[in-house]
Amino acid sequence: MTVADILLLALGAVTLGAALLVVTTRHVVRAGLWLVVALGGLAGCYLVLGAELVAWVQVLLYVGAVVVLLLFAVMLTRAPIGPSRDLDRSRGPAALIGLGAGGGLAVLLVDAYRWTVLELPAAGTAGRLGEAVFREWVLPFEVLSVLLLAALVSAIVISRPDVAAGRLPEPRRAAEPSPDDGRSPDDAGQPASLGGSARGGGE
């Protein structure tokens, strides 16, 4: 048992406990907060395994961005603050399949690696990873940027039904009396030529 082993065991215990709480807690908001602990523990594991850049990207992207997005979604869907009774469906089959998948993979990997000892290689710093990305993985890198753009556009299209239906925003007539004072706050910040598009197109 080396220091790396002990660190991995400790961080793994933290991660597993937090992950269990993510899937079992009765508070929706707390599930998101326990997810921070689980992902942070995994970032620690990455650091111990010598993946420096991956660990910091994990902290930046997962803990920083993804969890914040999830908490935004929790609040936008008006999740109750207190405990809710109806978060889970029947747990038996899910536990069976989860145990089967996790246990099966665990047995497979433990049988494959036994108690072999491995010297950790040189740490994956930003320089080394950048070299690997731009020497061998340039094409996937570029394709990934296109995918991010597609995801961005599709998220906008999904959240704007008028755009999804192919009805582009029409310019509003200035003389028209505006009956829609109770418009959604989303439209408030847009210029007049873009606002009220859903109503104009629906008629």
Partner: protein, 117 residues
């Protein structure tokens, strides 16, 4: 370093994620469990990277993290749209055959619901 420790951790984390995806009814919580599964795969990639002595595994981990960011963006947009249509994100109550269609096929009602928000 014994590579079996992170591998075991990843397998158990994946099992927990599978349980969460199957057991949770709230769509946002399902997405959180999906994140756990993706992270288990990332841990396998990083550990395999340490055994292969190249940095391919870590590069792929970065790619998977970016994919997860894209996935969570689109997934949350879908969940929020579902909430706008149904006032609920309980996945049990989604019935694709009940005649309510998505806004691209039924623009007027969806737009009206947006207005009424």
């Amino acid at each position: 370093m014994h590579p079996v420790i992170p591998y075991l951790l990843a397998a158990l984390l994946f099992g927990i994620g599978v349980y969460g995806v199957l057991a949770r009814r709230n769509a946002v919580l399902v997405l959180m469990a999906v994140e756990l599964m993706l992270n288990a795969v990332n841990l396998v990639l990083v550990t395999a990277d340490a055994t292969l002595r190249q940095h391919t595994g870590q590069v792929f981990t970065l790619f998977v993290i970016v994919l997860a960011a894209a996935e969570i963006g689109v997934g949350l947009a879908i969940v929020l749209q579902l909430y706008r249509l149904r006032r609920s994100v309980i996945t049990d109550s989604i019935d694709a055959a009940d005649g309510t269609v998505f806004p691209s096929a039924e623009p007027a009602s969806a737009a009206d619901r947006m207005e009424a928000r």
